[in-house]
Amino acid sequence: MATLYLPPQMRDLTGGDEAIEVPAGTLREVVARVDRRFPGFAARVISEGGVMPGLAFSIDHSITSLGLHARVSEESVVHIVPGVAGG
């Protein structure tokens, strides 16, 4: 199972749990599964069929540029972080 870490501001969805175990798949599948368990999750991270503007998914400690197509493997750790721009 992959592990999804929720930032403190999303832990209201899980009743305070920081980490959730999820089966591997595309990020879209992962988000859909989490949303089934914790309704409202998808609305917090997805907008118009893509990742919410201003947010980014980090898979195995690297920000993915593949959006919801990104692959999450069985050993993956996934973080949700704010987008960061360089100068």
Binding site: Y5, Q9, D12, L55, S62, G87
Partner: protein, 775 residues
């Protein structure tokens, strides 16, 4: 004049590279003359304002005289009637977009806000906000016509202070901006557009367990990127619907995307031709002039060029956020055990400041197992803030690195040793949850500790020395490269990364290394958006890393094609052809150099072209450590930097001179941020110092030589070990200098800039306190 500290500075070894002895290269690590150099020293290079077109009209921009005002009406009829005036544009000429996001690779931006920043819609949100623009037969006529445009304003109360803007009763900039807290939105509109919380471990319990806790408050002023080239754009909207824009931009493709988005036209109708760019530092990623020049060109049928004035640059373009930061750190058994930080950053007139980076950077140099970070992005009546070299990191590091210095002093530990004891290493978890890959912070700290400067004697009672560290993420993103092989053994390298500081050469050198030819045998060209594959911005310290990777991969593609050709010529199989150090080898001892085979190409099936497009991953992080010596004039409060050393992990320095140049230039920008630069606002929210005389950037006379030590801890994710370099060097200087000022005077200054009046006041106050204590 010979006894100044800066004269002495030339005596010691100014630069050093600490390299991995196992890595050997022919081209990489050498210092060739940059390919575009001659054009730039003889005045021939074509920058944005040097574009000449037949029938060219000149534009000028009318800016709001109020920091916050409703635009009741705009009457341009008198201006339009003036001789030489060809058109006037207002926001009515741009599509009225509602929330409409586009992803620029690094971040997504709201095109509705971008358009309204280019030309104010309904409200002017800061003094200097563009309200209208004129195209005329000369720049003089255009500027004069601005005064004939009658704008009726309803002046509104303004707020420029970040804390005041957060108050419930503060003047509200937008009735459609709500506080976003990781996907959940506030009920009522607010100037606070974003609220972030990061947490790891159990900070509350951890603080209770600490032997020593220090909490401090800090403020930093808004500062400008300060590029010397005035923003300029030339647009030609042809009758066939195609729009060509000559731009001064950090990213031609993202400029194309933003233009198409703001104007709501197909991206394929827009061609962006990037000119040479006179500095950006993050400030030339967004658009200001391009859509305005475009609609003026559409109205007139002629090309239109608009160049900003310097006052327009200060008042109308992004400074980087001013900040209010509170940092607390706790130590248990000599190790950092707990951290807490509260950060509020200016966003300026529209949401989207640098708060995310500020929050993720505030503790990024250290292994702090328990931490909580809270951040706010706050709209205020100032120009929309923009990225500036490691955007968001410098404000945060100023706070943390000052508190670290205080902790080390309280513990009686050397400040570099204290950092070494607590340094982030491979495997350390940052507060946003990211675990570090192989990084070179410890190696960088050790190199600084060993540097002669660190233990050199200080001269005089008003001298002091400080150190500070800095971190920046660095990014990868997308880059493309085309390589055309010539029959004389040279290659043309075509890239889309605009070259701000010599990157053509650092990319060409990576291709040369790949092909086994000299740097001079590669001819790099930066081309327009029609002529090369998609390439993200020149920013995020990514170009030498990512576009270098694209050039390397295109080089590998070319070698593969040339091995096929050698096999054809020699009548063997491709797998029988080897390639090593620029020489193709075949059966029976046959061999051809790269140039030898290139000469055979035209007669054996034709010349070859290779290409690559990469989505580069693994830029890995940049760490730097700076050592600053200062001398404080107790009469005037002036702080002089007398000696300065920067140490940084570059992964692998492709062209060490330009790596040193990034370290030196970033350090001096940081020195300016530390000591002099600030937006001064009056009570109406008007910037009082919009000139380069009053907005005081460092001159040659203000700084010493900047010594450099390049540490090379190769990045395992790049074929040559490259890490980004450009941004990290601006991060440490304010804290290094504040720590040096403390060493010199015993005073802790926690407000930037540490300008002479502020330092003088602190010295006077300290003297008064001492007198009072003495009685």
């Amino acid at each position: 004049m010979t006894d100044s500290p800066s004269d002495a500075a030339t005596d010691y070894a100014p630069s050093r590279v600490i390299a991995d002895p196992d890595l050997r290269y022919e081209v990489i690590g050498t210092r060739p003359v940059r390919h575009d150099g001659v054009d730039k020293v003889v005045g021939r290079a074509v920058y944005g304002n040097d574009v000449r077109l037949p029938g060219l009209l000149h534009g000028a921009v009318l800016r709001s005289p109020h920091a916050h005002a409703r635009i009741v009406s705009i009457d341009a009829s008198a201006a339009e009637a003036l001789p030489g005036v060809k058109a006037v544009a207002t926001s009515a000429d741009l599509p009225d977009l509602t929330d409409c996001w586009t992803n620029l690779g690094e971040v997504a931006i709201n095109l509705a806000h971008l358009g309204a920043n280019c030309l104010a819609r309904r409200k002017a949100l800061y003094r200097g906000h563009a309200v209208a623009a004129v195209a005329a037969t000369s720049a003089h006529v255009a500027r004069e016509a601005l005064s004939a445009i009658r704008v009726e304003y309803e002046v509104l109360p303004a707020v420029t202070d970040v804390l005041e803007a957060m108050e419930d009763d503060a003047p509200l900039l937008h009735d459609d901006v709500f506080t976003d807290s990781m996907g959940s939105s506030s009920e009522h509109p607010s100037n606070v557009s974003r609220h972030l919380v990061f947490e790891q471990g159990d900070p509350e319990r951890a603080f209770a367990e600490c032997d020593l806790v220090i909490d401090r408050d800090f403020r930093t002023a808004s500062v400008h990127q300060g590029y010397i080239e005035l923003p300029v754009a030339t647009a030609q909207w042809s009758a066939d619907g195609r729009l060509t824009v000559w731009a001064s931009t950090q990213g031609s493709f993202t400029t194309r995307q933003q233009i198409a988005g703001v104007l709501r036209i197909p991206i394929s109708d827009v061609r962006v031709i990037p000119c040479e760019i006179g500095g950006g530092f993050g400030g030339k990623i967004t658009l200001y002039l391009e859509p305005v020049a475009a609609i003026l060109s559409r109205k007139t049928g002629r090309p239109v060029k608009i160049q900003m004035t310097r006052a327009g640059v200060f008042q109308g373009t992004g400074p980087t956020p001013g900040s209010v930061v509170r940092v607390g750190l706790g130590v248990k058994d000599g190790r950092l055990h707990a951290g807490r930080a509260w950060l509020a950053y200016d966003a300026g007139a529209f949401p989207g400041g640098m708060i995310g980076a500020g929050c993720a950077c505030v503790f990024s140099c250290y292994d702090i197992p328990n931490a909580r970070v809270v951040g706010y992005d706050v709209c205020a009546n100032k120009p929309k803030t923009q990225a500036y070299r490691a955007p968001g990191a410098t404000q945060a590091a100023f706070a943390t690195e000052t508190v670290i210095d205080e902790l080390a002093a309280a513990l009686g530990v050397d400040p570099i040793d204290f950092r070494l004891d607590n340094a982030a290493v491979e495997g350390t978890t940052r507060v946003d949850g990211t675990v570090y890959p192989r990084i070179g912070f410890v190696e960088t700290l050790r190199a600084a500790r060993r540097h002669e400067h660190y233990t050199a004697p200080l001269d005089g009672p008003s001298a002091g020395r400080g150190v500070a560290a800095g971190f920046w993420f660095n990014i990868g993103l997308k880059s493309s490269a085309n390589v055309h092989c010539n029959p004389d053994g040279t290659v043309m390298l075509v890239i889309g990364s605009t070259d701000i500081g010599g990157s053509r050469t650092s990319i060409a050198m990576q291709l040369a290394e790949t092909l086994g030819i000299s740097a001079e045998s590669v001819h790099p060209q930066v081309t327009d958006t029609d002529s090369v594959g998609y390439t993200d911005v020149t920013g995020g310290s990514r170009v030498t890393f990512a576009t270098g990777l694209a050039a390397h991969e295109a080089g590998l593609d070319l070698i593969a094609q040339m091995r096929d050709r050698a096999a054809f010529i020699w009548g063997c199989e491709t797998h029988d052809v080897t390639f090593d150090a620029g020489v193709f080898g075949g059966p029976d001892g046959r061999s051809l150099t790269f140039a030898g085979l290139a000469a055979e190409l035209p007669g054996s099936g034709g010349l070859l072209t290779a290409r690559a497009t990469v989505d580069a991953v693994g830029p890995t992080n940049g760490f730097g450590v700076h050592i600053a010596d200062v001398d404080v004039d107790r009469e005037t409060g002036k702080v002089s930097v007398t000696r300065y050393t920067t140490v940084q992990d570059a992964g692998k320095a492709i062209h060490p001179s330009y790596v040193e140049g990034q370290m030196q230039g970033g350090a001096v920008q940081g020195i300016g941020w530390a000591l002099n630069e600030e937006y001064v606002f009056d009570e109406r929210g008007h910037m009082e110092n919009p000139t380069m005389l009053d907005y005081r950037m460092p001159t040659a006379l203000d700084v010493p030589m900047i010594d450099t030590v390049i540490v090379e801890v190769p990045n395992p994710m790049h074929p040559f070990g490259v890490r980004g370099v450009g941004e990290t060097p601006i991060v440490p200087p304010p804290a290094a200098i504040a720590n040096a000022v403390h060493a010199a005077t015993g005073l802790r200054l926690r407000v930037l800039p540490m300008s002479p009046p502020r330092v003088h006041e602190a010295l006077v106050q300290a003297g008064a306190d001492e007198d009072a204590g003495g009685r």
